[in-house]
Structure formats: structure tokens, C-alpha cells
Amino acid sequence: MRNLSRREFLRLCGATGAALGLTHAIKPEILEAFAGPAGGQPPIVWLQGGSCSGCSVSLLNGVQPEIGKVLTEVISLQFHQTLMAAAGEPAMEILPAVKKQYAGQYYLVVEGSVSTGDKVMYSTLGERDGKPVSFAEWVKTMAAGAKAVIAVGTCATFGGIPAAGSNPAGSKAVSDVISGVPLINVPGCPIHPDRVLGTLVHAIKYGIPELDHLKRPTVFFGKCVHDLCGRRQMFDEGKFATRLSEPGCLYKLGCKGPMAYNDCPTRQYNNNTSWCVAANAPCIACVEPGFPDHTSPFFERMPEYGPAGTPSPQPRQGNIIGGDK
């Protein structure tokens, strides 16, 4: 197997040609990275709280290596509610066992927001002595023994939709409930499989990747959608669509590309099939901490941005909508 330097690895993460996903490019690296400590594979515990499971479903859309291979040969996915064979007590015995056996070595992935405050019991998982255990408690317990925590999806990273509006369930981001352990945020609604696997590989092989002020890996979240967009030139030339299904820049129809920092336009989704603007739909900045309250109404022009030709705000990612958390 090749032994890529970190610099080469990062170049691969960013090098997404039209027909080449990240997971394709770094296949040998993924295999190698995960063939490391802890009995051949670093254990992963994946907890789902206030989520829709969309991030898990999106993970299954990863290509090359085939996700089946990733699940069985590459990572050791000890706990994942949607995929594991175990249920009930045998399932819940796994978490303390991993915490003990792989102390300081396992990675905790959290999908979904965390119910907090007096609403902590709005999300529970399993029982102890006949009483339900809150999801928040599991996140804290498992984070305490993890090598690193990776919050995946916008609900886990910034609260997302469950924390929007009146936030009826007291939903919060993972960063609001844990401390004292390295944390990486991989937002998106849903997450992109490349971004999760690429982040995991980097964490395992080279350590925590370079993060922006929102703890997002800059390799995936360092550039503005508006700058990478195939319709950027139409914006600069003042060619705007007046309805979604006709050609032209979608800025006046609500596109929040100038607010959003990620590589969707080049990486695309579903094995490079398409992405939002390619399907004539506005970017809704689903990777940003203001999603959805500050990135909606989705079909209304964003107020913060100037006329055609205005350069994108640079270089501080995400700052224009949510600011520091």
C-alpha cells in the first residue's frame, strides 16, 4: 500500500474530478488507515439522537471501496442502531464493553441533536435498572473515553432543524454537551460520505485535521459554494433565472451559496450524480450554523449580499451568517 504524506492525502481529498469521488481516490489510504491498532481496526461507536437517520443513509451512499467492504473489512462499527444485528440488552451491553476494552482508542460518531435541560428525557436509549437512560448521558459517557468525537450532520454539529424556531425539544449541538475531548464537526444535511470517511481517515492516520473556527475540516469546508459554482459566471454577468427551471444564476431565487462553505459544486452527491444547483434548486446553506433559521426563506433572495460581481466574503468561513458559536 502506498504511504501517502499528509500533504498528498489532503490533495487527494480535494482532487475530485467529475467521475472520481474521494473514497475512490483514497481507497488504499482508507484500507491502510483502518488496518491500524486495536485488533486490526479502530472501533467506531455511532450514536443516533435527534436525527432523521439521513446521515447514516448518506454514509451508505459512499462508493469505492463499496460500503459493504467499509463496514466489514475497513472499520469496526461496534454500535450503529440502524445497521447492527443486536437489539435490546445485547446491544446496550456493547457500549460499556467498548469503553472499557478500547479506552482512549475508539472514535465516537454522533448523528443528531442532543436534548438538554429539563427536556433531556425527550431522547432516550436503552434502560438501566428498569429506567430509561437519556441520549445526552450516553453521549457524555462515551465521549469521555473516546480518542476523538466526530459530530456528523448539521443537527449534531450546530443543532440543525431540531434546534430551530422555538426548539421544542431543547435540542443542542454535541459541542454544547461535551468537553475535554477532541471534537471535529462534519456538517451537512445530510453529511457527504466522502467528508465523513475522509475526516475519519485523517484523524486516524495523521491526527486531527486542520479545522476552521467552527471545527470543520478546512479541506472540505474551506471554500465558498458561490465561488466554486458552475453558475458563478452567470452571477457576475447578471444572468439570473426568473424561475427555478430556467437557465441562469439562482441568487435572486434564494440561493444561499454565498453563505455556504463547502465543496458541493465540485464534489457533488450520489457518486458525482448531481447537487442542488445542478437540479435547478437554490443552495440552502445546510452546512452552516444558521441553518435553517438564518438561511431561510429558502426561495427568497438573501439580504446580506451585494449586486452581481460582488466578491464572496473571504476568508472567514461561516462568519457572515452565524458568527462564532
Binding site: I94, P168, P292, D293
Partner: protein
Amino acid sequence: MRKIVIDPVTRLEGHLKVEVMADNGKVVAAEAAGTMYRGFETILAGRDPRDAVYITQRICGVCPVSHATAAAFALDDAFGVQVPANGRIIRNLILGGNYLQSHIIHFYNLSLPDYAQFPAIAPFTHHYTGDYRLNKETNERLVGNYFKALEIRRKCHEMVALFGGKMPHQVAIIAGGTSMTAQKEKIDAYRKLLAEIAQFVEKEYAEDTRLLANAYSDYFQVGKGPANFLSYGVFPLNDIGRDKLIGAGVHIGGKPADLDIGKITEDAAHSWYDKTADGSPAKTATNAQYGKAGAYSWVKAPRYGGEVCEVGPLARMWISGRYTSGVSAMDRIVARTLEAALITKALAKWLDELEPGAPCEAAVEIPYTASGVGLVEAPRGALGHWITIRNHRIERYQAVVPTTWNCSPRDAGGKAGALEQALIGLPVPDADNPLAVVRAVHSFDPCLACAVHVITPGKPVSEFKL
């Protein structure tokens, strides 16, 4: 008598706890509980109505298209717009592609580990032990197809993304039609993927279902439930929308009848909501009340004319007369497979009906006040969205979803939900390994993130910061 608690029931969407009482090796009482709550409908209050399509599909990452479709139907209804033919067909192509994804992932990746033995590596270790009876050859075939199915379901999503932009959480279904147009290269690419998926459905999925049904034929005798069915119908075949590939209707007490949505009510006697939750979904208001005496679930109890109904593929196949052999855990699995085959054939036809270049969206205008209803079938059953608009904003929104029907708790009259009824009588020879219980639960393909929700409490729009 022994109490068996399964928390969590895994391999389904969301958080479900099932508690059964076993006596003499059989289930004699059952409770199903949703254990996670987010409050989507409250979050929707005060927003631009058009945003409901994007927000409600985030209720569920497994069937986001169904929520997007229900929301779009509700908005079309409230706005009074006529969707162009291309828009209707592209919506069907997006929804149909995800139906295939959903049915395939259910059979192979969510259900099969209940019946087949997988290699003893994570995430397949620590499962219940006992009655696994596939012969070696069949077991190997099915486990192999578990991995093949992962790839096929990924391709189903690629098919959806051709018109939907991305999956999960497609972007092309909007109020008034679709943003995506009928481009020839997209049609060709969809057709190519569909051919491969159709071959898998017809050759592998159908045969694997047959093998499973033969080996576990006793599961045709258990997991019956109320044997009342309800379907809203799905996949409109013409622009008026009255004719659908799979029709609407109910089947109550052994008799078929037309659907009357006025008969739908919700009941929260045993749910963690206060009394304002009881009544017609067009009028109720629900406020969380965790710890309420007698309550045990975040799921409410929808009823049709007071009756408990099962929804999902078996209900649809039964009501449309395509499959009426029995009501059981295995019949649900068989009905789902038959439906997947039906949809693969329909998708090919709809591709032919698209007219490249023709319009796919109608202009929409948000009225000052309006109300609308959007009824559709998600892969796992009847899904309805109710919207009220005031001052051009969402005043009230409510979704009544499939798993609320199937996994409801008891109602005020003490009537147990469909799943709860289906669990009664199941064999549990070994209380530490309640395999039959998880098999029966999975036959419903529950989706708890959908089921657990709340009606907008009707707060004034001004209280919500946008």
C-alpha cells in the same frame, strides 16, 4: 409470566422500545413506545410555506421524498395550482426511485439479520440466538445479497439524484411541480440504472423473498394485527390526480370502503402530550407533557372512525386487490416485494411519458390565508400533511405518518395499536432471545423519527424569529 423489554429495537429508523409479557412461551400483552421527540411541526410555524417541502423531508432520512411529496401536494392544494404533466411525472420518478431504495434496504439490511446468520464481526455480533434455520447454501446466498443490496440501493439513490439533485433530502420537488426539467441525458441515465435495479428486483429480491418465506413459513401464521387497512393512494397517473398507480381506500372489519379523511382522528390518552392533542388532525394542538400518568410513548394513536388500521405495502396491495392471501409478518414482507416489482415496471413507463423541454413547474403565489391537505403513501404507509396559512406564513402544520398508525400506543378506549396487536400470540420459547418479536416488529418497517412529532401549538407568527 415474564416481562421482556427490547430497548432499543434496532434496524429501523429512529428510537423504538417494545415491552411484552410472555406466558407459557407466548406473548400475552405488548406495548410499543417511541422514545425520541423533536417537535417538527412546532418548528415549522411562522415560516414561508414553500419551505415546508425542504423542512418536512428532514423528518426522515429514509423516506424524505414522501414527506417532500406530501408537503408539495398540501401546498399545491392550498395555492390552487395545477402541476404540469412533466412535474407530476418527475415527482413520481423521484418518489418511485426512493420506494425501491426503501424496500430493498428494508428486506436485506434491516430485516434479513433476523433470519440469516452473518459473519461474527461488528456490526453483526451480539445478536439474539436461537431459531436460525436457513440451510448453508441459502444463508450464503442471502448474506451475499445483503452486500449486493447495499450497492443496488445506492444506485436507486443515484437514479433519484438525477432528477432530485441529491439523496437523502432531494431538492427538486417544490410547490407547483419540480425545479428539474426533463432532459434527455437524465432520462437515458435513469433508464440505464433502472434496468440494472429492475433485474435485481425481479431475479434476486423476488427469489430471496421466496426462499425466506419457504424456510420461515410459520411466519405466515403469526403477527396478524387488526387486519383493518388504510391507503391514501400514490403515484398520480394523470394531471387531475384522481387515478393513481395504487389506489386509495380502507378495509375495515373485512369490508372495503372509500376513504373518508373526515373519519381520521388522533388520540393521546397514552402519549406524552396534553389533552389538546385529541381530535381531527386539521384542528388539534399538541403540547409535550413528558411523564404524564398512564402515558408511555411519544407516538400518538391515529384512528379511522375509531378503528385501529394497519398501513403499508400489505395494506396497499390488499386494498388494490393485488395481494389478499393473508395478514401476517411474512405477508408484509411478500407484499413489499410484489410492490417493488410493480413500481419498477411503472417507472419505465413514466420515463417514456416525459416530454423533454415541456414545462415542469407552475408559478405559485402564496395566499394571505389558505389551507391544504397533502395525502401520499410513503414506502411504509399512509402519510398526510395538513397545512394552514395565515399572513402568507405557516400558521399550523401537522403530519400524520405511517408509523404513527402502525406503532401507536393504546387509545382512550384501551384499543391497542396495530403493532401491539400483532405481537400478541407470538412464540417466545426463550425469553432472553425474543427473535419472533423483533421479526414481527421489522415486518412493519417502522420509522420512529416520522412517528414522533407534534402539532403546532398555534402560537402567533410574530413570536417566531425568522
